[in-house]
């Protein structure tokens, strides 16, 4: 089977210096790629490159499949209700027909936020907001999930819920790239590890 993301020797230059050492990424269907590295090693930048938010300064990226990206900041408008946030994403991002999309209500339920549906996102706790951000993956499912520190501010239950989401997605032949530096996902599926090295000085 062909890879859904194929990146060759990509890197990004900030201030004329490489953020990380040029890296190859080959993400296969049904595969999880765990991106590791110290703080500031460029995990976030690598994920943003893979998502297409920034363009690589060197190397090439080919994507085959729809992409969902959940960054540091989960992309939740604080003045909207939890339900409205998900309704917006269902319409804004749409669902890949390969996967069954949940209704916003069902997704809230799955994320354990059924009782917070009418609350403004600004009133939710950080962990709840993180769950809400991740629930986007259910209302607007995509083939490739790019998740930047999805376990941030989640409790043990939340981490297990995310692990479940990932397992389910991988079982459907979806692909996931996760940057995580504390919690390690506990999954059934094969996990590939990619270590990001901070960039050396670029002469």
């Amino acid at each position: 089977m062909d890879s859904v993301i194929h990146a060759q020797q990509i890197s990004f230059h900030r201030h004329g210096e490489r953020v990380f050492v040029p890296t190859n990424v080959a993400l296969m269907p049904g595969q999880l790629c765990l991106i590791r590295g110290q703080n500031g090693s460029g995990k976030t930048t690598l994920l943003r490159l893979l998502a297409g938010i920034v363009h690589p300064s060197e190397g090439t990226i080919a994507r085959h499949g729809s992409v969902a990206f959940i960054g540091h900041r989960p992309g939740v408008k604080k003045d909207l209700t939890a339900l409205d946030v998900l309704k917006f994403y269902a319409e804004f991002a749409g669902a890949d027909p390969l996967y069954g999309a949940m209704s916003p209500q069902a997704a809230l339920h799955a994320a354990g936020l059924a009782r917070q549906a009418r609350q403004r996102a600004g009133q939710l706790s950080a962990g709840q907001r993180q769950r809400l951000g991740l629930a986007r993956l259910l209302v607007a499912p995509k083939t490739i999930w790019l998740l930047d520190e999805p376990y941030t501010s989640l409790d043990a239950d939340g981490c297990a819920w995310v692990d479940g989401l990932l397992d389910q997605h991988l079982a459907l032949n979806g692909s996931v790239a996760v940057a995580a530096h504390v919690y390690q996902p506990k999954l059934n599926a094969p996990t590939d590890v990619l270590d990001v090295q901070p960039g050396a000085q670029h002469a």
């Binding site: 938010i53 990206f69 992309g75 909207l80 607007a140």
Partner: protein, 224 residues
Amino acid sequence: MTKRHPLRALLRQDLQRAWQHGGQSLLPLIFLFAVIAMIPLGLGPGPNLLAMIAPGMIWVAALLASLLALEGVFRPDLDDGTLEQWWVDDQPVLALICIRLGSHWLISALPIIVATPIAGEMLYLPAEALGLLMLTLLIGTPILSLIGALAAALTIQARQGSALLGLLIFPLTVPVLIFATGAVSAHLDGLTARPYVLLLISLFVLAATLVPLAIKKALQLNLE
């Protein structure tokens, strides 16, 4: 709901949020009236003088009012991580920018245009100039929104961005101000306002084609 409608979704969300903010969305309008009310207090209530300067004053007040809402055009989206979603999964970025500009104009500028008759009445604006003044506002305020949004996109991460906004915007909006008020005074002098209105329209076309590209570039630089 499998098909995506990013433009519709964004427009709906923007309008919904403006509606929820209620009074806050009307701040530019309130500010406009505050400025209008200051003018007779500063210049004296003489109807002749006020009538003469009314078109220009309403335009300057509209320009100042348009500054107020700019903080909210892109900055909150960058801060909460929704802006980067515009670049994920081949979304039509340029069209999204245009939608955002459109909703911004609807929320901040349209109320001002609708309220112009009242402002005109307060400054003894000659009745025959009102229609033309509203027309120039209708064509000109979108240009202000475009230039303002560009300045906002450039200053998102700047220190004291809001203080800079005015300095960046005013020189660029000089032609709009000149042609718009020129149209009205030509009309009041019994001349044709046509060339001014046509120039204003071509300014709008030029701005509408070029500025969104510059905004896209500026936002992209912010995401790097």
